[in-house]
């Protein structure tokens, strides 16, 4: 039982990371109806930017926790800005010229951007894995059984809290601000939104920037949680996050978060109880099962097929 609780905590942490990436997928798919294939690689770039910022500032695990958290927020801010610029540039150069073109074209450019980013980072940063010592270490024991001790680390608490904060801020942004209104309008009917004076291009660009910024925070979390990154982490994390977005219902923000949690839990439990080598198979099979039996996802609206 204790083992189960421990895995549950680990799964929620991993799920938070997937959820943050999934928001980028779900927003972009909601507005322009394309799978932003390069999103997983923006997450990877965010992780690298975070790593470099951490080392540039010389943040180490020796400082106090409060100081560590403050420094990490600064790192997150910088990496959000740079990843946001990446998101903007990708949309501007690779997707916008193809808007209104036939549907496969942006998907192919997205795959091209993904290949480009992976190899760009590999060429500039080297192919070897990058280890990072823990910045926030320690934690406390919440349950002490006779066979297994359940521990929750400060890092895990930080990840979950940061995710909750970002999510609530983001939900506010979408539901209350004029930007959020513009986004929802574009999602419902882009042409009509344009006629009513909404700058559709800016709205879509902002969507990409926000998605990329959230993905870069996820990248920072991944870096801190696993302590090791390489240029290839974006691929599988991207597919799993997309699975999360679909599972939650494409276009639904709480759905993306919920989907992320479910995928994180499935992956962790499968690795813990069956086989860690096949944990990716479990996550991908989940995607297939969901799409076949529940194509609208957990919280999504059913799509009506029109002639």
């Amino acid at each position: 039982m204790n083992y189960f609780i421990q895995q549950f905590i680990n799964g929620l942490t991993l799920g938070s990371i997937y959820g943050l990436i999934a928001i980028g997928y779900t927003m972009v798919y909601g507005i322009i109806g394309m799978i932003n294939f390069a999103h997983g690689d923006v997450f990877m770039v965010g992780a690298f930017v975070s790593l470099i910022t951490v080392i540039v500032f010389g943040i180490t695990g020796t400082s106090s926790i409060a100081l560590g958290i403050g420094a990490l927020i600064l790192v997150a801010a910088i990496s959000m800005v740079i990843a946001g610029v990446y998101g903007w540039t990708i949309e501007r150069l690779a997707y916008r010229p193809l808007r209104g073109s036939f549907r496969l074209a942006p998907l192919i450019t997205a795959i091209g951007v993904s290949i480009f980013l992976q190899n760009f980072v590999q060429a500039t940063q080297g192919a070897r894995v990058k280890p990072l010592n823990a910045i926030i270490s320690g934690g406390f024991t919440i349950l002490e059984g006779n066979d297994f001790v359940v521990r929750i680390t400060y890092m895990q608490i930080l990840i979950v809290i940061l995710t909750v904060v970002l999510m609530s801020g983001f939900t506010y942004l979408i539901s209350k601000t004029s930007l959020g209104r513009a986004q929802r309008a574009c999602e419902q009917d882009m042409k009509m939104a344009m006629l009513l004076g909404i700058d559709v291009n800016t709205t879509i660009s902002t969507t990409f920037v926000i998605g990329a910024a959230l993905a870069s925070v996820a990248g920072l979390m991944y870096l801190l949680y696993y302590g090791v990154i390489d240029f290839y982490i974006g691929f599988s994390a991207g597919i799993k996050a997309f699975t999360a977005a679909v599972l939650g219902g494409v276009g639904s923000l709480p759905g993306a978060m919920l989907g992320g949690m479910v995928i994180g839990l499935i992956e962790v439990f499968f690795a813990a109880y069956f086989s860690s080598e096949y944990k990716d198979v479990a996550a991908f099979s989940m995607l297939i099962v969901v799409l076949i039996f529940m194509p609208q996802g957990l919280l999504g609206r059913p799509e009506i097929e029109k002639v």
């Binding site: 910022t53 073109s101 450019t109 190899n119």
Partner: protein, 451 residues
């Protein structure tokens, strides 16, 4: 470059826009080009190298590139972006008359290719590679181009074919010609197995599920060590023989039997003709299938699934047959790949392969068979040309690894080519069925890939 930003084409405005692009490039490049992390093996793990020179060069290139764009290519004041008619070349390739002459010319060239004076081992290997991709492209074209089912996991069938040949020949001693139909059959079975659950899915969802299938197969190949050899792969796969006559120096070898002098080139030439024959077979089967009711059902399905269903076309059989036949050709190509390499490992069947094959089909213009040939030559041949980048080592020093740049430029080329020609190189095509007279339809009129 922004949609409203063309208001001024005066020089200061151009410089201003270029400077903005440079600032953005600076932000993009700062943590990648500018600062490098390296593992030192020390206590703290990582240290930084600052490369201000490289960063400066990168930003400078962006500035110059943007200025060049502003001066030469950007639309000028008041110039309207017009919808471009397909260029004469694309139109010519799309029309059946030209295709009827270009096709046979290409085939004759392909047959004569090994005997041309410049064809050495390297060129011939490249030829084999290109034809393999042409064949894979034609196979995937059935699924994506004709039936409009976006498949991102095509490499799975290629893998099934390769492992079928490898395992059957290693464990049962089957020859190549016996394995070939079996591999095709197994791949087709997998096509149906994978196709069946995804019948209800459309468009992007189908794409992501097929991608997941491709990854599942790769992960299984990687981890089922007792059966597939895991990441070490399977080696010592028997090479194909010329109808039972092996290519070696023995008395019963190919050279001795036909009274020729032994040369390792004979096997390469044989492999070349083998893949050429398989590709031509694929071409004719596909071309014939397009004229059969099943082919017309595929195209109808691509254009409008609901209309198709209401006209009484059995969409289940139509989709499954597209998956199965596409997969079968993938399996053939895979078994050729295993025979040629004499070694298979899961690394050969990653997502990059699927992306390359799909890019070849899309760049070829989705449903043009000739287009696939051209785009395969451009994509595979172009990437191969990039291997010649070794000279850059003398410019950037020995730490510089051009092979990484190869894939980087491949990704960039994929983006640029789609921007340049979103509908592929051969973007017009003849309708297979016509009422009174044949009209060439611009691909811009066809809604494709709606799955």
């Amino acid at each position: 470059m922004s949609s409203t930003g063309h208001s001024s084409s005066s020089l200061p405005a151009m410089i201003k826009r270029s400077l903005i692009a440079t600032v953005i490039a600076f932000l993009l490049f700062l943590p990648t080009l500018g600062i490098k992390t390296s593992a030192s093996g020390g206590v703290d793990g990582l240290f930084l190298t600052y490369r201000w020179m490289l960063l400066g060069v990168g930003c400078g290139l962006i500035f110059v590139g943007r200025m060049a764009y502003e001066l030469f290519w950007a639309p000028k004041d008041g110039e309207q972006k017009s919808i471009k008619a397909p260029s004469s070349l694309a139109r010519a390739l799309g029309s059946s008359k030209v295709a009827k002459t270009v096709g046979p010319v290409l085939l004759v060239f392909a047959i004569a290719f090994p005997f041309l004076p410049f064809s050495d081992r390297y060129i011939l290997d490249l030829g084999i590679l290109i034809i393999t991709y042409v064949m894979l492209g034609w196979g995937l074209q059935i699924v994506v181009g004709l039936a409009g089912l976006l498949d991102l996991g095509y490499v799975a069938f290629y893998a099934v074919g390769a492992y079928s040949y490898a395992l059957l020949s290693i464990h049962f001693g089957f020859g190549f010609w016996m394995c070939l139909p079996l591999a095709g059959l197994l791949a087709a079975t997998w096509g149906i197995v994978l196709g069946f659950p995804v019948l209800r899915l459309r468009g992007d969802y189908l794409a992501i599920v097929t991608l997941a299938f491709g990854e599942i197969i790769r992960v299984v190949l990687l981890n089922w060590r007792s059966f597939t050899g895991g990441s070490n792969g399977l080696s010592d796969i028997p090479r194909p023989s010329f109808f039972g006559i092996p290519f070696n120096q023995s008395e019963h070898g190919f050279a001795a039997t036909f009274g020729l002098e032994y040369s390792s080139m004979q096997r390469i030439v044989f492999l070349y003709f083998l893949i050429l024959a398989l590709a031509v077979f694929t071409f004719f089967v596909t071309a014939r299938l397009r004229r059969l009711p099943i082919g017309r059902a595929w195209e109808a399905l691509r254009e409008d699934e609901i209309a198709c269903r209401s006209l009484g076309v059995n969409t289940v059989n139509t989709k499954l047959s597209a998956f199965a036949i596409g997969a079968m050709f993938g399996g053939f190509a895979g078994s050729f790949f295993a025979a040629k390499q004499a070694f298979v490992s899961p690394e050969s069947f990653n997502f990059m392969e699927s992306a390359t094959i799909l890019a070849i089909v899309v760049l070829g213009g989705m449903s043009s068979q000739l287009g696939v040939v051209f785009s395969a030559i451009v994509m595979v041949g172009g990437v191969e040309l990039l291997r010649q980048l070794q000279f850059l080592k003398s410019v950037f020093g020995n730490d510089f690894d051009p092979s990484q740049l190869r894939l980087l430029l491949f990704g960039l080329a994929m983006v640029l080519m789609m921007l340049w020609r979103p509908r592929g190189l051969v973007s017009t095509r003849m309708p297979t069925v016509f009422l009174k007279d044949k009209k060439t339809v611009s691909a811009a009129m066809i809604s494709q890939g709606r799955g």
